[in-house]
Symmetry: C2
Subunit: 368 residues, 2 copies
């Protein structure tokens, strides 16, 4: 218990009850001994770069662990077996993964494949009786998203979307402040999400696999951010698309979209989603009594930000570690994150994405 005390002394607990780890080796063992509840046993579907990032992050989880893989590439499966000690019996491919229903050693599947595959794959996972964790965007449109919600309900499994920012300490603190009224009434949100995308042959630039360009990939951070920063659901959107490179960004793949949202309170949001500008990852929210600015606001590295009260000093912890521990808590203990990460939350974002694409195409103000 000594080490546990030691740990707890240095441990801070966020408003939503998620422990925030400090950077100390001694803390880790303590944490391990401290936690005696169930482990969320996760199989990752899609062993690409983000799947790898999640696998690495899960090595530090105390409530979740990587136990299985689903991949179409045998060499990757072998590598992961070796690296993460995944037993052969927990390895599947895209043809046979429905058999996961007969595997009592897997609780959940984290779908980290191209967006255009999420819907069908998630529904198959649900039908196999496993909880679904699906990377954002949950699908390529709201209709698909709703099908996933319905399928998971019918199968009595959870559907959770990979909204890692909902577990990120500085973001959580800002949302806590907003909910506590420390900013006063929110008035304006600005989200800028952009980077210059490389390899033109990647799946993110293939409409069928991605469902869209920058908007699906990163614009969705500004959409989701507007909602959790302002604490309201938008009632209208407008959008303007600009394309400077129609070779790289083909029909249906958005390069740059500016979009605006209006909210019931009169608050407004102005956002930018782009694959043509570097280092754009900025949130700004201004309210009656204060403001917050974050830059970077959604990247994997440390989030930096400040409010009218000063610099945000919550420690950086690997987002995906917090996310997977938080999702385990949600599944086993019904501990809700400060903002939902469920399928319904995902559908809300997808409806806005749909409306933005429509607004950009027609020039109309689209009611939500």
């Amino acid at each position: 218990m000594g080490s546990r005390r030691n740990f707890l002394e240095k441990l801070t607990v966020s408003a939503i009850g998620i422990p925030l780890l400090y950077n100390s080796t001694s803390l880790f063992a303590a944490t391990e001994s401290a936690y005696e509840g169930p482990m969320l046993r996760v199989a990752i579907m899609g062993l690409g770069s983000y799947g790898t990032r999640v696998a690495e992050a899960m090595q530090s989880c105390k409530r979740a662990k990587l136990v299985g893989v689903i991949s179409g590439t045998p060499s990757k499966v072998e590598a992961w077996q070796a690296k993460y000690g995944v037993p052969k019996k927990n390895c599947y491919n895209y043809e046979n993964f429905d058999k996961i229903k007969d595997n009592p050693d897997i609780d959940a599947v984290y779908v980290i494949t191209p967006n255009g595959l999420h819907c069908e794959q998630s529904i198959r996972v649900a039908k196999a009786g496993k909880h679904v964790i699906c990377e954002k965007p949950m699908a390529i449109n709201a209709e698909e998203g709703q099908k996933m919600v319905d399928a998971c309900k019918a199968a009595n499994v959870k559907l959770l979307i990979g909204y890692r920012m909902h577990f990120e300490p500085k973001t959580v603190e800002v949302i806590r402040m907003r909910k506590a009224g420390e900013f006063g009434k929110p008035k304006f949100f600005q989200g800028l999400s952009g980077f210059v995308i490389g390899d033109p042959s990647q799946w993110r630039l293939n409409k069928k696999l991605s469902g869209g360009g920058a908007m699906m990939d990163i614009g969705i951070y500004s959409i989701n951010g507007a909602r959790y920063m302002l604490g309201e659901e938008p009632i209208w959107v407008t959008a303007q698309e600009t394309k400077t490179d129609p070779v790289k960004f083909k029909e249906g793949i958005d390069e740059t979209i500016q979009f605006q949202m209006g909210f019931p309170s009169g608050a407004v949001a102005s956002c930018l989603s782009t694959y043509a500008m570097n280092n754009l990852d900025r949130f700004f929210m201004t309210a009656e009594d204060g403001y917050v600015e974050m830059w970077p606001s959604t990247g994997y590295g440390p989030i930096e930000g400040s409010t009218h009260k000063g610099k945000l000093t919550q420690p950086h912890i690997t987002h995906q570690t917090l996310q997977m521990d938080g999702m385990a808590q949600l599944i086993f203990e019904n501990v809700q994150p400060i903002v939902p990460v469920d399928g319904e939350e995902g559908v809300k974002d997808m409806k806005i994405v749909d409306a933005i694409f429509k607004a950009a195409k027609t020039g109309d103000k689209i009611a939500l």
Copy 2:
């Protein structure tokens, strides 16, 4: 002369010939003795709070001085005579100021009256053969602005608009950097201009006098800023209006307008103009090789900002002092500021204002 020497002791000269204050005693005497050119003798029309600010700032000018007033309020005229040593023969009212044409001791009139009066008053000044300096917005629409340009040309006098930021050292440095290619190709500009306006009976909330609400007053900073930050003229605008208080903000008085612009290079701008949010005075520009952020970006106090190269450290000097000295240089020596401040520059902004109002009303993308 002691206080003047004191001032000049701290003076240096920027790349574009605008004096920049500096912390060096030795520079002082040299500069003062160096200037022996003509003084721009200015009458201020409109002795309100901004007129007073300009008069105060002009006390530190070395190339311009306040010599006359035009006002409808005799008590104000008396107070200014006493405070600034304005001779009685240089005092006019709105009925008789055309007689200024017979006054050889006044070179220029600075029109600092409500926007809706600028056009007629400026044209009268031009017809009196005096240079016109007109506060921004130059008029309430582009048509009026063009009439002013034409009238000043016909009268062979200068028409200059009160674009003080074109003389502000940090802004000048950023524009210099942009012109020198130090940011690379500009990609995106964001301008946020807002404050919570007080007294609902003020002329700024009277359509006839103001021509509009926040857009005319402060949104124009973001319009002008987009142009000088990106170095291009927009080819389209879109805009969305939000009104939460239709009592305070009557028909034709905009409370909050989000507006977007597209530029020939593919660069875009997203801006906000509002009378309903405090402390919004932020510029951000991102480019291929760098960025700049400024907050405050256009206020009277010190501008604060940084670029990818670090903090902007140019000294703060009262903007209106620099502006009036710069305008004297422009008039007498044809020294052009880094970005024009002439009537044509004003008309460019007014055309965009017109298009924004049209876009906000119709929901259309307006080509420019």
